[in-house]
């Protein structure tokens, strides 16, 4: 599972890299929207990722959701930080209180990624193969 994300604050008009971890209190991730980048709470009821397959099979059909691009330069999986070129695909949902939350979409790991991180699943990367 992807447990931390690091992204360039430049998209928010600031300097430096921001690191968000699932262990932080109320972690937030940057997402790209038509109105520019936004911070959204990461995770919903202790889930931070969502399998792409379950999305396809209609897992979220009962709640309002939409696909988003998560701003990311690096991600941490099983203690390995790896480089992300454009970002990660995510899903934006509304929780019971009406606040927006983002989950990282995952897919089965490629052979390379599995050897590199020993993880069975990897985030869905935008225009990038690992």
């Amino acid at each position: 599972m992807c447990t931390a994300i690091e992204f360039d604050a430049a998209e928010f008009g600031k300097n430096g890299l921001i690191r968000m971890s699932v262990n932080d209190r109320d972690p937030k991730l940057g997402i790209r929207t038509c109105n520019g980048p936004r911070y959204v709470l990461w995770g919903y009821s202790k889930n931070f990722c969502l399998k792409k397959e379950s999305l396809v099979s209609g897992y979220l059909c009962h709640i309002q959701s939409k696909p988003v691009e998560i701003i990311a330069n690096r991600a941490l999986v099983n203690g390995i930080w790896f480089q992300i070129k454009k970002g990660i695909r995510g899903i934006l949902i509304l929780d019971g209180k009406g606040s927006k939350r983002v989950l990282i979409l995952t897919e089965p790991s490629t052979h390379y990624f599995k050897i590199m991180t020993r993880a069975d699943r990897m985030p869905v990367l935008i225009d990038q193969l690992i």
Partner: protein, 403 residues
């Protein structure tokens, strides 16, 4: 007086990655190899933690938990390397593309300021490509190569007649290209510790000890350029493909499927290099590390997939042992001959119909990717073809003299 420069890029693969991702500058970065398991290059920041080339990623992460791991991209590294070569060619027509990140430049009888020349090359590459390089400039290629390694990273070393003796006294024999650990230990037993000690011994003594290559080094270390700068790569002596079978397998269909996949890669390289082979060798390595080898001399030189496939099938039947777990394979072809200017054969060789099908396959694959149309035997190795990261060939850098 002949002047030769050796330009060596500093942690080349990492620097290439930093060209396109500036956020990697100043932090520990490692580039991982073909399978994603081992570090093949690391930044100086990571070197400080004791991470070595070849170290498995799961060990490296414990030593340096904040490091960023990047997947290798040889195509990009090749592109950067070619751009570097173009800059070298603007300085001299005689440039040896020694490896992906190292080149020798022959300046002929240059009489200007050597330090300025070295700094100019260094700053031009840095400003044009953002690539830090170290430059050694001297009277022979051996001295130039030692020089470039002396002041890494981003260093310049000039060795001319004025500082040659001092340079040799301060250089261990182990720093000479061609003298490995074992040889270094042997020389040190004979009280040959520095390059100065080496050249102080008579040439005959060195030749009796280390034969012709040792004698060449003896002259080169004294600034007498014996080893020429080679503009073009000599023809290959062999072609090989192979590697891991993605785990250990005992299913003959899977292993054979994987071998055919490697044969497709093998024949692709024969075609792209415009060469053909006479002998074909198949090697299978089992889990215990034992090698099973089959060698076949074909009736004529060939690059025909179907002819080599027959040899592969024959070899596979001979060496495959039921119940054994195999993990690695190698396909080797030698000697290698160019197909250009080849004499025509009176006798029929191969199957014309099959060759036509294979030609069509090549045409399709050259447009849509190496494994778009593939041999049906490879269907048994479906795991590898189902993985989207392995549907292309890992590129080699053409034209370089060694890796």
């Amino acid at each position: 007086m002949k002047i030769i420069a050796h330009v060596d890029a500093d942690c080349f693969y990492v620097s290439c990655e930093r060209i396109r991702d500036k956020s990697l500058i100043g932090i520990p970065v490692a580039v991982l190899g073909n399978q994603g398991a081992c570090v093949i290059a690391r930044s100086y920041e990571m070197k400080k933690f004791g991470v070595k080339v070849g170290m498995p990623v799961w060990e490296a992460k414990n030593v340096c938990p904040d490091a960023v791991y990047v997947k290798r991209d040889f195509e990009w590294y090749g592109e950067v390397s070619y751009k570097m070569r173009e800059i070298f060619l603007s300085y001299s027509d005689v440039v040896e593309f020694y490896s992906i990140d190292e080149s020798f430049i022959d300046f002929g009888d240059y009489s200007g300021d050597l330090c300025k020349l070295a700094r100019k090359i260094q700053s031009e590459i840095y400003h044009e490509l953002d690539m830090p390089v170290s430059v050694g400039i001297s009277l022979s290629r051996t001295l130039a190569k030692i020089g470039s390694d002396k002041n890494k990273p981003f260093g310049v070393t000039v060795v001319d007649k004025s500082n040659l003796e001092e340079f040799l006294k301060n250089t261990s024999v182990g720093e000479v290209c061609g003298i490995g650990y074992k040889l270094e230990a042997r020389l040190k037993q004979m009280h040959i510790d520095t390059c100065f000690d080496y050249v102080s011994r008579p040439a005959k003594f060195i030749k009796s000890l280390l034969h012709k290559p040792g004698e060449e080094i003896w002259y080169e270390l004294q600034g007498k350029a014996l080893l020429l700068i080679k503009n073009e790569r000599p023809q290959r002596k062999m072609i090989s493909r192979g590697g891991s079978l993605w785990g250990y397998h005992k299913d003959p269909k899977y292993v054979f499927g994987f071998l055919v996949r490697n044969l497709e890669r093998f024949c692709e390289s024969l075609l792209s290099e415009k060469v053909e082979i006479k002998n074909f060798v198949l090697v299978l390595i089992d889990k215990e590390g034992f090698e099973y080898k089959f060698s076949d001399e074909m009736s004529d030189f060939t690059q025909d997939f179907n002819i080599i496939l027959n040899s592969l099938k024959h070899g596979f039947r001979k060496i495959f042992k039921v119940g054994k777990l195999y993990g690695y394979c190698h396909l080797i072809g030698f000697p290698v001959r160019s197909v250009c200017g080849k004499q025509l054969n009176f006798f029929e060789y191969g199957d014309e119909r099959r060759s036509k099908i294979h030609d069509l396959k090549q045409q399709v694959n050259s447009h849509f990717g190496l494994f778009t149309l593939r041999s049906a035997s490879t269907a048994y190795a479906s795991t590898v073809f189902g993985d989207k990261t392995s549907d292309y060939e890992i590129t080699d850098i053409k034209g370089k003299l060694c890796f």
